[in-house]
């Protein structure tokens, strides 16, 4: 890739008035073509993602500021928890004709979140999220999921275009990664004669921005690559989950292939107890009802998380026959589902407190400058060929 090609080197020396570059001229042109086009195609969308991503980093703080924080009431003399069957019945009573889809549990307070929908395979936008006090089965305010933050989130995830929009943004993220890789390759010939961090002052505006683009791009390399790649993985969460459903869940429930779906669902409290008995020391994160993307037609899928900060993000799934309430099988999720699960915090930057969020926001702003200066350099570069720019960089 960085092979020395004598004639090309001479050529560049002639162009640059003395600068010697190891990459052959044709190699440089291939990489700069790749860098130019991968960047140009994705830049507009990446700018949108960076700008909408900025408030999303702080969505928790913003929702706290704008909404009134709900304080869990004291329930004197009653510190026991209601049966989850009671909680589910209360939630569904408020949504006539709907069925339960998911049940999840807050980590820091006794709150059960129930997601309902018109059918077991209802799309996300038809789902309703309800929160109930686990001790009394009374409703508590659900997490805020509307207003400007919800609009920003939807734009960031899928441009309001559903699954095709998600895949499109995933493809733009992949191009962004190509732009990063090709940018790193091009960094070498540009920096042959300059120390790291060189910002030339007495030069044209274009050279100034070239130096900034190189510096800001190379220092954010690791962060931008991780956030870009995990964004791509998140964009393809549906096909990844569908693969898992078809393979691991299929293997775990091979005996059910011919069976009819249960006419009536058994106790969800019993299903959870069947799984936690088989996996002591683990915590239930959420339950998926039969018929959806996260389960089979015949089972409650109970997802367990470990007790330590690291194992907390790695899930084990237990399948409980929804008719009989008996445990069918329990297994750790496969590597690609664990990768998907880890891609969420690594993309959101929400796993290291407020200082991490601030650093995340600053790195996001730096990325915006890299994108913007890249567009500027392309506009300026069109007036003069790449070799002239390269020559100027090495002059």
């Amino acid at each position: 890739m960085l092979a020395r090609v004598q004639y090309a080197e001479c050529d560049l020396v002639a162009f640059s008035g003395g600068a010697q570059v190891h990459m052959s001229q044709s190699t440089i042109q291939i990489w700069s073509w790749l860098h130019k086009w991968s960047s140009l195609v994705c830049t507009l969308f990446l700018l949108m993602l960076c700008v909408t991503g900025l408030p999303l980093i702080f969505h928790h703080e913003i929702e706290h500021l704008t909404g009134e924080e709900y304080v869990m009431p004291d329930l004197p003399g009653d510190d026991g928890l209601e049966s989850l069957d009671t909680v589910l019945a209360e939630a569904l009573a408020s949504r006539p004709g709907e069925v339960g889809l998911f049940m999840s549990f807050d980590e820091d307070r006794p709150v059960v979140n129930v997601t309902s929908g018109p059918s077991y395979d209802a799309p996300e936008r038809q789902m309703t999220l309800m929160s109930l006090d686990w001790r009394s089965a009374d409703f508590v305010p659900p997490p805020v999921e509307e207003g400007i933050m919800a609009v920003i989130l939807q734009l960031h995830i899928d441009l309001f275009l559903g699954l095709p929009g998600k895949f499109f943004l995933g493809a733009m993220g992949a191009l962004f990664v190509v732009a990063i890789v090709s940018g790193v390759v091009l960094y070498a010939p540009f920096m042959r004669k300059h120390d790291f961090g060189t910002l030339r002052v007495s030069r044209s505006r274009r050279v100034k921005w070239l130096d900034w683009h190189n510096l800001l791009g190379i220092v954010t390399l690791a962060w931008a690559s991780v956030v870009g790649l995990t964004g791509v993985i998140n964009a393809f969460s549906e096909p990844i989950t569908a693969t898992w459903q078809a393979t691991q869940l299929g293997e775990m429930t091979a005996g059910y292939r011919e069976a009819e779906p249960p006419a009536e669902l058994g106790s969800i409290q019993g299903a959870i107890e069947a799984v936690t008995t088989a996996a002591p020391g683990m915590r239930v994160q959420f339950v998926a009802f039969p018929g959806g993307l996260y389960s089979t037609d015949h089972h409650y899928a109970v997802f367990l998380q470990g007790a330590t900060p690291l194992t907390k993000r790695l899930l084990t799934v237990g399948l409980v026959d929804a008719a009989t309430g008996e445990l069918t099988d329990i297994r750790p999720m496969p590597w690609y589902m664990q990768a998907l699960l880890l891609s969420q915090p690594l993309h959101f930057g929400d796993y290291g407190g407020l200082p991490m969020k601030i650093l995340w926001a600053l790195l996001d702003l730096v990325t915006i400058v890299v994108l913007g200066s890249g567009v500027y350099l392309w506009l300026a570069r069109r007036k003069r060929p790449v070799r002239a720019l390269m020559a100027e960089a090495g002059a």
Partner: protein, 65 residues
């Protein structure tokens, strides 16, 4: 004239990429350590992720000299 232009030397690939590689390594340590735990791991994470930003500030300060 920049300092580099004053000397005719040409930097090797290793010399070009050693600082970027170290900054990348610190960033990755920062990204991963907060996943692994709380407390000290968080502190390490903030330090690691601050390295690329410190490098930018350092380059600005160097230019002013």
């Amino acid at each position: 004239m920049s300092r580099a232009a004053a000397s005719p030397r040409r930097r090797s690939l290793g010399a070009i990429f050693v600082i970027p590689a170290l900054i990348g390594l610190f960033s990755l340590v920062g990204l991963v350590s907060a996943l692994a735990g709380d407390g000290f791991s968080d502190l390490l994470s903030w330090a690691g992720l601050a390295v690329p930003l410190i490098a930018i500030v350092w380059a600005c300060a160097r230019r002013r000299q």
